[in-house]
Amino acid sequence: MEKAKEQLVLEVKDVKQWYTQKLTAKKNGKTIHKQTVKAVDGVSFSLKKGEILGVIGESGCGKSTLGRVLVHLENCTAGEIRLFGESAEEMLKKDPLRFRRTCQMVFQNPFDTFDPRYTLKRIMEEPMKLHHIGSSEAERMQIILDILEQSGLHPAQDYIDRHPHELSGGQLQRISILRSMLLNPAFMVADEPVSMLDVSIRADIIGMLLQLAREKETAMVFISHDIATTRYISDRVAVMYLGRIVEMGETDEVLHNPLHPYTRVLISNCASLDPNEERNVIEVTGEPPTPIDNGPGCYFAPRCFCPIEKCAQEYPGMVEAAPGHFVACHCL
């Protein structure tokens, strides 16, 4: 129960990110010129110090948009994000550099994370100068060499004048993670950090991310479509469907005892490495819909295998089904 007393690093309350799309289409006999894409449609959660929350869902469920909103690469349409109780938006306005130091992000594509014209030295040096890390040129150089060495570039001295395209994806992603961690962020978003890398190097990157997060007690939102990887790294998971969290709780509790029909579908479709394992795949019909005009009912109802009447009329509220295990479903 000690954990409960710990300070909340991040509180997210009913965050929404809607985009207006211009188009000309026929809908119900009427021609419309605009439609609203609700990429993130009311997400709330909180993170404690050093806690890692895995966010899983299919492509288009809004998980990457959520990640960008959390570090304010985009301003959200509605809702509130608080860091240590302080409004993130105000913090960004008052002291943008402090906000950036508090919130960092690791991106999906390591090959495009750095300016292709810059040398590794410059890539690392500029944010350090910006945030006043290292008092002298020599000290900064030492930090840069340390980071390159840790990224598996040996001897580091030979690499400082290289350009990003000369390195492998794994090396670049390590540099990206270490560079972000250099700022000692209290909170970090990792948006599919290994999905573009080869399997045999993924494990080491995940290991490094996990170790650094534990060392520096960084709270993290780990976005992924790979459930097994998410299970490995996160303390809690949140399952997203069409911009909303449908289920959230302790990792093993949610993944081994899924309550929401969508979570069950997602997990049952996860292929296993063991060819002898019996698989009970729950099938769903239909295509993943787009987050446009989802109607008043549960967004998953049209594809659900056990809908009841109420599902089509009203979006279910979050219920605490077991301690710390929240689900939004009518059929519990």
Binding site: L73, R100, C103, F107, T113, D115, P127, L130, H131, S176
Partner: protein
């Protein structure tokens, strides 16, 4: 030491591109010759370009009087040595072309970069503004301005520059829009770099290449515009330029065709040279264009 190696590698790559691209090579050689001639004008021109010799309308190759140098390209109505005038005129043409194109490049890059990177309302306003400029017939705009402010060469350069930036602005805007969604720009933003700094240090340097190519082509445009103005009698009368020379040769076209023909051919070659460089650069940027040869 290392830095030297990096520079050497870059030069090596540039050399390879020049060697393999015939267009670029031809253009560069022509421009180099032109620049050399313009720079050496005081040394190599046989006569003072303003000097009125006694040989009037002498055809090319006429020997000079009293052991003076020959008029290799002939003389005009007043006895000016055409070769000397050509060499000094090259300075004017190059200066006008370069300055005008440079002004257009800077203005276009800044306006296009701001529109593309900042987007939203700023973008909408700038796009409309650019459209207005595109729709205005720029040559007549230049004519009006010259008519009002007089035909000073500095004005002419600035006016040509300020009317030809919209092409560059459109290019830069497109570049900025595509760069804006790249991860490394988001990464810089997440690292805390300010928007202005990102625009100057990442968006513009990464998107500048097509503008460099376009600007090279615009040098020819500048030279042509100046020639056109002078041809219409609106050039700076105090300065020797190829356009002025063509204008002076116009009435003599049947009696002494070389007076207009020599600067005319020079304008064509110069324009072609810059165009070759610009087009060559374009092909280097978009190698896919000729990959299927």
């Amino acid at each position: 030491m290392k830095k030297k190696n990096v520079i050497a590698a870059k030069l090596g790559r540039a050399w390879k591109v020049i060697r393999t691209n015939a267009q670029l090579r031809t253009g560069l050689i022509l421009v180099l010759i032109l620049v050399a001639l313009a720079l050496l004008a005081p040394v190599i021109s046989p006569y003072d370009p303003y000097k009125l010799t006694n040989e009037l309308q002498a055809p090319p190759g006429t020997a000079g009087a009293n052991g003076a140098p020959a008029h290799w390209l002939g003389t005009d109505k007043l006895g000016h040595d055409i070769l000397s005038q050509m060499l000094w005129g090259a300075r004017t043409s190059l200066r006008i072309g370069l300055t005008a194109a440079l002004i257009a490049a800077v203005v276009g890059t800044l306006i296009g970069g701001v529109a593309g990177y900042f987007g939203g309302r700023v973008d909408k306003v700038i796009v409309e503004f650019v459209n207005i400029f595109v729709m205005t017939p720029s040559f007549f705009l230049i004519l009006i301005i010259v008519a009002i402010f007089g035909s000073n060469m500095t004005y002419v350069m600035i006016v040509i520059g300020l009317t030809s930036w919209p092409g560059n602005a459109r290019l830069m805007r497109a570049q900025a829009i595509s760069l804006r969604s790249r991860t490394f720009i988001k990464s810089c933003q997440a690292m805390g770099e300010s928007k202005l700094s990102i625009m100057f240090r990442h968006i513009i340097p990464n998107g500048i290449f097509p503008i460099v190519a376009n600007t090279t082509m615009m040098i020819s445009g500048g030279i042509l515009t100046e020639a056109g103005l002078s041809f219409l009698g609106l050039g700076d009368p105090n300065i020797i330029s190829w356009g002025q020379m063509i204008n002076a040769g116009k009435p003599l076209l049947t009696k002494a065709p070389w007076v207009a023909l020599v600067p005319g051919v020079a304008v064509v070659i110069t324009v072609l040279a810059f165009f070759l460089i610009g087009d060559g650069l374009n092909r280097v940027i978009a190698p896919k264009m000729n990959a299927n040869k």
